[in-house]
Symmetry: C2
DNA sequence: GCCAACTTGGACCGATCATTCCAGCATGAC
DNA sequence: GTCATGCTGGAATGATCGGTCCAAGTTGGC
């Protein structure tokens, strides 16, 4: 039960990062961190310091892991804006499929961010996010076929994506989001 | 000091909406709400119910105010995706300039969302948001001149915008964000 | 002028939060 | 085998949270 460290510090930090990632800062309690990392309170404090220190370490870890990919995608030899967006989408998709990120991508934050939403509201947000993911995948398939069409598709996708992020962040209720989804569905899809 | 109501319910709800808007749900304490609305605890609870009820009323108020504009922009007779995005940007810009929304738009949420970030980190986020706002305005000016160029511009803008939203939401530190800003600056601007 | 109705400010409550502390014990060195 | 090291689980602490309650006081109707 005691003696020498019984966990891998780096792995614990990775898990803590995902807890912050999923729940945001203020919705992440120490109990949630102990549950997510498997460490006890004492080990957590002894290893990483207090909550905000652990959060900052998580940020750094996140930046180290994912930032170079965006950097590479955005700073590469992409002559046109549409190519830049395509590269950006590619990175995002890779992250969605990243096996080191359980249960999806950054976007899944939205559904957990507003505890005051009822279950139906959160389910709606989750469903819209799943739909968005499908759209992203479809837009990338289109990119392989025809670049101009891909650019147009990415345009629509990003616009809808942004709408969803803004709206869910602002905490729209389930029925509000459903209405927006209906509007988004009317965007021409080719 | 007492007797009959000494405040305007609708105005109080508008102010409460902005408090939630700026701080998010869990970072909004009752004390912050009383400070933001000017009402006492009793008046707040007596008029709107508990915190989550007030949040839901704020959502509804928000939806009533802003949703029709997006609905109109996204569902109107826009034949091409780029036109849809242009309309979307127009609505966003209008909201940025909306005098009923003090201190800017939804995007300003980001800077307040992570209390564990130091002052420099939050200032960096704020500066990037200001830069983003300038980019949006510039993209709209371009839209007036040449529609295709505008579409390309909007593409870049949204991509960068989305990056910022994702990154700041994930809680990047100030220097991380500065690096991303440098990368974004390398996106061709015409 | 009087009374019922209603609002208001502030004290109060239990729950939960982040954080600290300590006794107990497994470990590695000798 | 012995001992110092330092990690571990759990109890304890003070602050803050959302929420409740009530006495004090003001209003409008009569």
């Amino acid at each position: 039960m005691a003696g020498r460290k019984q966990f891998d510090v780096d792995e614990a930090l990775r898990r803590a990062m995902h807890v912050f990632w999923r729940w945001g800062y203020s919705e992440t309690s120490i109990d949630r961190l102990t549950e997510g990392t498997g460490l006890g309170r004492s080990s957590l404090y002894g290893t990483f310091g207090d909550k905000s220190a652990l959060f900052r370490k998580s940020l750094h870890r996140y930046a180290q892991t994912y930032h170079p990919r965006y950097e590479q995608a955005l700073a590469g030899a992409h002559p046109t804006p549409s190519a830049v967006v395509a590269a950006y989408l590619q990175v995002t998709l890779n992250r969605i499929a990243d096996p080191t990120v359980p249960d999806g991508c950054l976007l899944t934050l939205s559904a957990a961010q507003f505890p005051a939403l009822d279950a139906a509201g959160q389910a709606t947000v989750r469903a819209m996010i799943d739909g968005l993911r499908a759209m992203l995948e479809q837009s990338l398939r289109a990119a392989g076929a025809d670049e101009h069409a891909a650019a147009e598709w990415a345009l629509c996708t990003l616009a809808t994506n942004k709408s969803l992020a803004v709206l869910s962040r602002a905490g729209f209720s389930g029925e509000d989001l459903a209405t927006v989804a209906a509007a988004a569905a009317r965007i021409p899809q080719r």
